[in-house]
């Protein structure tokens, strides 16, 4: 029966490598149209969260239903066969463990506190109902993408530094290290996606079948059990990752995996307390509004909260962004970074553009292409630039700091911002003057002015401004297309 494990290992390896490869290609700026967000599209936690928070299941996220149907058929095969974080933990749990068989049996027993993940799920879903979507915090796909691409890879030579990346990396590493002590601790106790899939696994058709007449209760089936679901006795099908390690472990061949086996007796203790679940919901009803009242950009626009082009209005954006960080990996100039304080507590790790680190490339629409949830709308280049005849998509407006600008304040010629300005005609234009310099000789100066009707807020001017550290021209969010209340100038008169 070892072949079962080999087949599973092949699946795990395939999906892990696919996940890593897609993420690496995305971060490397691969311009091919690869299915970068295919894992995130199939994420039922995001799908359910979005339906509750935003009342919509956008586009490709409908693939999540396929994963639910798979779970209804086979149980939590996603956890045991597909999930990259599950596979990474699976590997980590086998490194340096050196557990004796007896210890393995103990560590793979079901513990009541593994129900914590159910309460986490309840909190996230109630929070979503309140309009604040926080599932991405512990969603294994978002968590892994963030930890790898924003965290660990940044430490590699030539890596792109990400403020706060240490936090993402630390969370991922912590989960892997914990797996050395309790295998798949995250899956067993914390993963809200696993908890959600567990709800569906209770109805699964295929599951572990145990012939009690053959079973000697030796416990060998728990030596390598990943889910701590106790295949002997009252098997907890909602905890089972379907790793099938128990099948070949059984010396009496009493275990199998079959369609519609007879059900084992119910566990002596329920798997989670309804009272605690209701309590969690009540606590969330209190804490959720506190998160929303944390002073992000929801009620009043913030100058430094510059969202990617095509981002939904802030209130809607926070209902749909799962903080997967794919847009941040996709941004070719490295302009998109996790929000630390710009978007309030509930917007932590959502994407913001930091023009000193990168700029919004004029015709580039990659962030919207990879966004799995539609928090950033898919744009065409023609739509984004306004070359289709409409208004260009603006993310903000540039402002000249006349006290720092070389031609304005220092009597020194400079034209970099105007040179870089991508719009046609350019949003940056010059007031030309000839003034006597310090030595009395006339200096011809071209002083930059910003035309707010043309500026899209792309930020390349700020990025390239030679006035270091704090640029003499900088963008703020005013004028962004997504928020009609944050408009700066009047719309052009209708023709």
């Amino acid at each position: 029966m070892r072949w079962v494990q080999r087949i599973r290992a092949v699946y795990q390896g395939f999906f892990l490598l696919l996940f890593l490869w897609l993420l690496a290609r995305l971060a490397a700026g691969d311009l091919r149209d690869l299915p970068f967000s295919v894992f995130h599209h199939a994420d039922p936690l995001s799908a359910v969260g979005l339906v509750l928070a935003a009342g919509t299941l956008p586009g490709a996220l409908a693939w999540a239903t396929l994963l639910i149907l798979l779970t209804l058929l086979f149980g939590r095969v996603f956890c045991g066969w597909i999930c990259p974080l599950g596979t990474l933990q699976h590997l980590a749990s086998r490194l340096f463990s050196g557990r004796k068989r007896r210890e393995s049996q103990l560590v793979n027993r079901y513990r009541r506190w593994y129900a914590l993940k159910v309460y986490i799920l309840v909190a996230l879903l109630v929070g979503a109902l309140l309009g604040t979507l926080q599932s991405g915090w512990l969603d294994p796909l978002s968590l892994t993408a963030r930890g790898l691409a924003s965290g660990l890879w940044a430490a590699l030579p030539g890596g792109r530094l990400v403020p706060g990346g240490w936090l993402a990396a630390g969370l991922l590493l912590g989960i892997l290290v914990a797996s050395r002590f309790i295998p798949r601790l995250f899956c067993r106790a914390l993963c809200p996606l696993g908890a959600l899939l567990g709800l569906f696994a209770r109805f699964s058709l295929f599951r572990i079948r145990r012939r009690a007449s053959a079973c000697t209760d030796c416990g060998a089936c728990t030596f390598a059990c990943q889910g701590a679901d106790e295949p002997l006795g009252s098997h907890r099908v909602h905890e089972c990752h379907v790793c099938l390690n128990c099948l070949p472990a059984c010396p009496k061949a009493a275990l199998g995996y079959a369609a519609l086996p007879a059900l084992p007796p119910a566990p002596a203790q329920p798997d989670f307390s309804r009272r605690t679940a209701i309590g969690t919901a009540i606590v969330t009803l209190t804490v959720g509004p506190l998160l929303r009242a944390s002073g992000g950009g929801r009620d009043a626009a913030r100058a430094d909260l510059i969202r990617p082009p095509g981002a939904l209005p802030e209130g809607e954006f926070l209902k749909q962004c799962v903080k997967c960080s794919l847009c941040q990996q996709a941004c070719p100039t490295g302009a998109l970074h996790p929000a630390i304080a710009q978007a309030g507590v509930e917007g932590f790790w959502s994407p913001v553009l930091i023009a000193r680190r990168g700029w919004c490339e004029f015709a580039c629409t990659r962030c919207g292409e990879v966004c799995p949830t539609g928090a950033i709308a898919k744009l065409t280049s023609a739509r984004k630039t306004g070359y289709d005849g409409g208004e260009p998509v603006r993310i903000g407006t540039a402002f000249v700091d006349r006290g720092r600008c070389l031609p304005w304040a220092m009597g020194t010629p400079c034209i970099v911002c105007e040179e870089m300005c991508p719009t046609d005609p350019k949003a940056i234009w010059f007031v030309e003057v000839e003034e006597p310099g310090r030595d009395g000789q006339p200096v011809r100066l071209q002083r930059p002015m910003v035309d707010p009707q043309r500026c899209t807020g792309c930020g390349i001017c700020e990025n390239r401004c030679p006035v270091g550290a704090k640029a003499a021209i900088s963008i703020s969010s005013v004028g962004e297309s997504r928020d009609p209340l944050n408009r700066l100038v009047l719309p052009p008169p209708a023709r």
């Binding site: 339906v51 956008p58 009690a212 719309p491 008169p493």
Partner: protein
């Protein structure tokens, strides 16, 4: 020993388990279909109704009355254009939109005179209005504006509900042109009849604040950018908001330091009220009270070009003093 794990499933249990799994699968599928890309179909802007009533035959388009008692002036002027019964029917919801922009006292003439507002409320109630709502989105603190203008006390005593800017709900509406994207006070959109009750006063940018500019007070956040092109913006507002009646309050007019005023030296007591169904004729009458040439005001010429009304002072029947 009986091994329950080797017993075959009964047909009953087989059907039960298959159907429960099927039911969950079906529910997931139906849910996905129901919610898939749902946002795209939703959205939608609230329409701005046309609150005007059909033409009055031989009745004048507008009438102006003079006298020391503002309430009497209003009654006479409304009588002259057909009486309130022509405009408000039994059971209707009426919104009265005075200018309550500023934390000023009535004698400072920055807001509509409270006696005019209160009398208007009484006339609407007398005509059978189910509810009369007095509202404005003030520039200063709305509670102070409504209190110190005297409008909150006078209007609520006359039987109106006060909805100040702090209590008002703003919703996306089908506003176009320069105001597109700015939200509109929901109470106004829900009204059967709307009466615009501006005060005639000076404005530093547009030179005069009259009736059409008073619609600024039903707009939400973002309205301040309209000052970038004030004449066109005001004319656009006049084209989008078509009131049942315009009541132009010139009990006192503010001639300088507008639109807030302050000094009583800038206030002139005129003691007149004009009422009309032609908003632009009322606008012209207001400008004349300030000693301005109506044709020199950009928003009036723009509004005339848009056909909002007739910019003709002769349309306003002068009822003289009582």
């Amino acid at each position: 020993m009986i091994d329950p794990y080797e017993t075959r499933l009964s047909r009953r249990e087989l059907v039960l388990r298959l159907s429960s799994t099927g039911l969950v699968a079906g529910a997931v599928g139906v849910g996905a279909l129901l919610f898939h890309d749902r946002r795209a179909q939703a959205a939608g802007l609230r329409p701005i109704p046309d609150w005007r009533v059909p033409g009055g035959g031989s009745l004048p388009e507008a009438a102006a009355a003079h006298g020391a008692d503002p309430a009497a002036n209003l009654r006479r002027a409304i009588e002259a254009v057909g009486g309130m019964g022509r405009f408000v029917k039994k059971g209707e919801v009426v919104v009265i939109k005075p200018n309550v922009g500023w934390d000023r006292l009535p004698e400072q003439a920055a807001n509509t005179d409270p006696q005019v507002v209160a009398e208007l409320v009484r006339l609407c109630r007398g005509a059978g209005a189910k509810r009369v709502v007095v509202t404005d989105n003030s520039c200063n603190d709305p509670r102070r504006c409504f209190a110190r203008s005297g409008i909150a006390a006078a209007a609520s005593q006359a039987g109106a509900e006060i909805v100040d800017g702090s209590a008002a709900v703003f919703v996306p509406a089908s506003v176009s042109g320069y105001s597109s994207g700015i939200e509109v006070m929901e109470a106004v959109l829900l009204a059967d009849r709307v009466i615009n009750v501006p005060v005639v006063k000076h404005h530093s940018l547009s030179r005069a604040t009259l009736g059409m500019k008073n619609w600024m007070g039903v707009l939400g956040k973002g309205r301040n950018r309209l000052h970038q092109s004030i004449h066109r913006s005001v004319a656009e507002l006049g084209a989008m908001f078509r009131p049942t009646l315009t009541v132009m309050d010139a009990t006192r007019i503010l001639l300088a330091n507008g639109p807030q005023g302050g000094s009583l030296a800038d206030v002139k007591t005129v003691g007149a009220v004009a009422v009309g169904t032609d908003a632009l004729a009322c606008e012209v009458w207001g400008a004349v009270q300030m000693g301005l040439q109506p044709a020199s005001l950009g928003f009036i010429t723009e509004a005339a070009q848009r056909g909002i009304g007739r910019a003709d002072l002769a349309l306003v029947k002068d009822l003289g003093s009582a």
